[in-house]
């Protein structure tokens, strides 16, 4: 009996010790970096300052969060030396961790604009995965606007301005309308989920294995387990793939901008620094609703459709054979298109 117990104990020790060693190896070799995101009780979504990030999705990224808490080179909040600052807010396309920082359209744009202007131009990337227009607005108010800036770009597509869903309201602040007033709800601070997250935070932000487990859980939640396990036999067991394809729901079916989006547009139209950048084509009806406001709008969606017209898929990554975020060429073209548009916006604001 004693021998059996000691055998089990040794097994458990060997198991746990090896997991710990594997976690260290996964981090050192950056096979899977721990989570760089965190939830700040004041501002909600945030990053862990100085965190290394390596990502293998459709592309490949090595970089990280700077000491100020966002992607790209670190810039202190005050523009002390007369630099002109442009903030960018958007989703994972803007965040852009599918390619190295030096090929990100923000970096290319910054160096191109610096060729055009006497003042030093700095571009700060506040893009974040899964953000829609409402999240961008909240993130701008609570975090990004703390940095001195001359322009703030909100890069959006259809699904950003007509969000299909709110991000987890138990974990993040969210925009809502109280009568006609646009407000931000911060009740997440009191949620049990947030308390549980806070307790787990040291593990969440320091363990690669935790992140792998989390990603596996997400993969299972997306219903991808059958395909992963059964490979070629998966269609035999996959009921969903046999179901007839219905009308796509969510944002695709809607023609009108939601009231929260309209309220945000209204607020931004009173901010002289704000510019709305349309990154993916939207319908004329939606554009007309946006144009009701005096918010400057820059449409660069033609860049991507132009590439497609040339027979180039701006979302295709040849190494992995996957489609996803903008590829290197798309970033280059977006930088060039934004350069022209921003020169106009800067000129309107007497910035030379």
């Amino acid at each position: 009996m004693k021998r059996k117990i000691s055998g089990v104990l040794i097994l458990v020790l060997g198991f746990c010790g090896t997991l710990l060693a594997m976690d260290l190896y996964l981090q050192a070799a950056e096979i899977q970096t721990p989570m760089e995101t965190r939830i700040d009780p004041e501002t909600g979504p945030a990053y862990v300052n100085g965190k290394k990030v390596t990502r293998f999705n459709e592309g490949f990224y090595i970089g990280g969060i700077n000491s100020q808490g966002y992607y790209g080179p670190a810039r202190v909040r005050e523009a002390d030396h007369g630099e002109k600052r442009i903030l960018m807010l958007g989703d994972s396309f803007v965040m852009g961790i599918t390619l190295f920082e030096r090929y990100h359209f923000g970096t290319l744009l910054e160096s191109e604009l610096n060729e055009d202007y006497e003042s030093k131009i700095e571009i700060l990337n506040f893009g974040r995965a899964d953000f829609n227009f409402w999240n961008m607005y909240q993130y701008y108010l609570d975090f990004a606007s703390k940095w001195d800036h001359d322009l703030v770009l909100f890069l959006v597509g259809r699904t950003d301005i007509i969000p299909a869903r709110q991000i987890e309201t138990d974990l993040y602040p969210f925009c809502y309308l109280d009568g006609d007033s646009l407000r931000i709800n911060y009740e997440f601070r009191n949620s049990n989920k947030f308390k549980a997250y806070t307790a787990m935070a040291p593990l969440v932000n320091n363990s690669s294995l935790f992140r792998m487990s989390y990603n596996t859980r997400k993969m299972i939640a997306r219903g991808e387990l059958t395909a992963l396990m059964l490979d070629k036999f998966a269609p035999l067991f996959d009921k969903e793939s046999k179901a007839p394809r219905g009308e796509a729901g969510g944002a695709k079916g809607k023609r009108d901008l939601p009231p929260v989006t309209l309220a945000i547009l209204d607020k931004l139209s009173r901010n002289p620094k704000a510019v709305l950048v349309i990154k993916k084509p939207i319908s004329e009806e939606l554009r007309a609703q946006i144009d009701q406001f005096s918010l400057p709008v820059v449409d660069i969606s033609g860049v991507l459709t132009g590439l497609e017209d040339e027979g180039i898929d701006p979302y295709y990554w040849p190494v992995t054979g996957k489609r996803g975020h903008w590829n290197h060429l798309a970033h280059e073209r977006i930088a060039s298109a934004l350069r022209e548009e921003l020169r106009r916006e800067l000129a309107r604001r007497d910035i030379h």
Partner: protein, 477 residues
């Protein structure tokens, strides 16, 4: 079907219990044969026909060879076997390569031979089973082997799924007798097999694949990367190819042990070699010994004088390079190794190299580490030609190393590369010291081995579920 796919574990969950349940050798052999053809046909069922042709031809030729005493007729039979096997290999693997090369030459003289291109896909592992089945007829021809009477046993020898697509390239005299006496493995053999598989999966899934993800990006478009990043990419490829291939070999050996069969060792810590000759005794042992026995020796080996020895060595390595793939890059890779081996042979003279490092004082350790580092640098250089898809890419790398351009990410690339290197080195040093590839189950406290193995497999499965699996590098050969 890849070893690093979940569906393979489902396949094993069916194959192993049925195998253990079946009482007779013949039933077990038939079951494994069915499983092997299913395993191979999972990629493309048409590939099975080539396997079957090779099997039938060599089985018949083997039988006739043994029954015939007339030397001329025996030679004809052997030529028939070699012609069929190399013919299949030639058409499916090398036809377009040679035609492409002829086209390039013809184009430079204004000619056009475009019409000769064949639209064919390369069957997985064709080079491996072709060499394996050829060794059967050659050994019978040389009088070193008696043919088997059982077609099922022979068909299983050719198609045995653990080593079908990437070796080890087994000899009939080792594998056939084991197939003829197939039975359930002992408990010790199963444990040893598990230890080998855990080691193999660690190498393949947690070292080879993650390194390979980076390598694929770097080699696909090297213009996007700076000098230290390209160098790290090359180093990571040297880690990837070793972890990937040795991982496959370990898994293959482990699986075989669980089926009661011992396969030969294919790798013996090659990056710990103190010279290039030792490297080739430790790297892809089943191929290098095949090339030695059936090509180098046939060419005359070292029996026809010094010059001829060097020529034979170079020819063997050039053809060994070409065996890997239908590309001039592989020929250059083989040629470089042939050159290294020739130069080392000159320096070595009649001397012998040690099998292992023997510590005789600090000086011996320093000397060993120095020669090991030099050997690895030489081998690393050859990997550039092995991995680069064309000479332009290889030239770009070399140019980038000469015209060095730094990167702000140098320290990151360095630490990533070092982590991979340290991990593979750690495994190798343990194997080297213990002389066991299944060292996890050689630990006196067996429960500790189980605990470690369980944890490794949990991480392997987590990685497999969150990352796209990379095919084994050697599958393409």
């Amino acid at each position: 079907m890849f070893f690093n796919a979940f569906v393979f574990f489902l396949f094993l969950a069916l194959v192993l219990p049925v195998f253990y349940f079946l009482p007779k050798q013949r039933d077990k052999a038939v079951w494994l044969l069915v499983a092997s053809y299913f395993f191979y046909g999972y990629w493309d069922w048409r590939f099975c026909s080539l396997l079957a042709i090779s099997t039938v031809v060599d089985f018949l030729v083997g039988g006739r060879l043994h029954a015939t005493v007339n030397p001329a007729r025996r030679k004809k039979l052997l030529l028939l076997s070699v012609a069929v096997n190399l013919g299949i290999l030639g058409v499916f693997k090398y036809f377009n390569f040679f035609i492409g090369s002829i086209q390039t030459v013809a184009a430079s003289f204004g000619g056009n031979v475009d019409f000769l291109h064949l639209n064919i896909i390369l069957p997985v592992g064709i080079s491996f089973y072709t060499f394996q089945t050829m060794s059967y007829t050659i050994d019978i021809y040389r009088g070193k082997l008696e043919p088997t009477d059982s077609f099922i046993d022979f068909a299983l020898f050719v198609s045995f799924f653990p080593q079908l697509v990437a070796g080890p390239i087994e000899r009939a005299r080792n594998l056939l007798p084991q197939i003829a006496t197939l039975g359930n493995p002992s408990r010790q053999m199963v444990l040893s097999g598990l230890g080998l598989m855990v080691n193999g999966y660690f190498r393949k899934v947690l070292i080879g694949d993650p390194a390979g993800r980076i390598v694929d990006h770097v080699f696909h478009d090297p213009h996007l990367y700076r000098s230290p990043e390209l160098l790290a990419g090359l180093i990571l490829f040297s880690v990837q190819i070793y972890a990937d291939f040795s991982g496959y070999s370990h898994i293959a050996r482990g699986l075989s042990k669980m089926l009661g069969i011992n396969l030969m060792r294919n790798f013996e810590q090659p990056y710990l070699s103190a010279n290039i000759t030792e490297f080739w005794r430790r790297w892809h042992i089943s191929l290098s010994s095949w090339l030695k026995d059936y090509l180098y020796v046939t060419l005359g080996g070292n029996r026809k004088g010094n010059i001829r020895t060097y020529v034979n060595l170079m020819l063997t390595m050039l053809l060994g390079g070409l065996w890997h793939g239908a590309s001039w890059n592989f020929v250059v890779w083989g040629g470089l190794h042939g050159l290294y081996l020739g130069v080392h042979k000159v320096f070595l003279g009649q001397g012998k190299i040690a099998d292992r490092f023997h510590y005789t004082g600090p000086g011996s350790l320093v000397r060993y580490l120095g020669t090991m580092a030099l050997t690895n640098v030489l081998v690393l250089f050859t990997w550039l030609f092995f991995r680069a898809t064309d000479f332009g890419t290889a030239a770009y790398f070399l140019d980038s190393f000469v015209h060095w351009e730094g990167s702000p990410l140098t320290s990151r690339w360095l630490s990533i590369s070092l982590s991979f290197m340290v991990m593979i080195l750690l495994l190798d040093v343990i194997e080297y010291k213990t002389r066991h590839h299944d060292f996890l189950f050689q630990i006196p406290r067996r429960s500790l081995g189980f605990g470690i193995s369980l944890a490794i497999m949990v991480v392997v499965f987590l990685y497999m579920s969150t990352s796209t699996p990379l095919p084994f590098v050697y599958f393409q050969f």
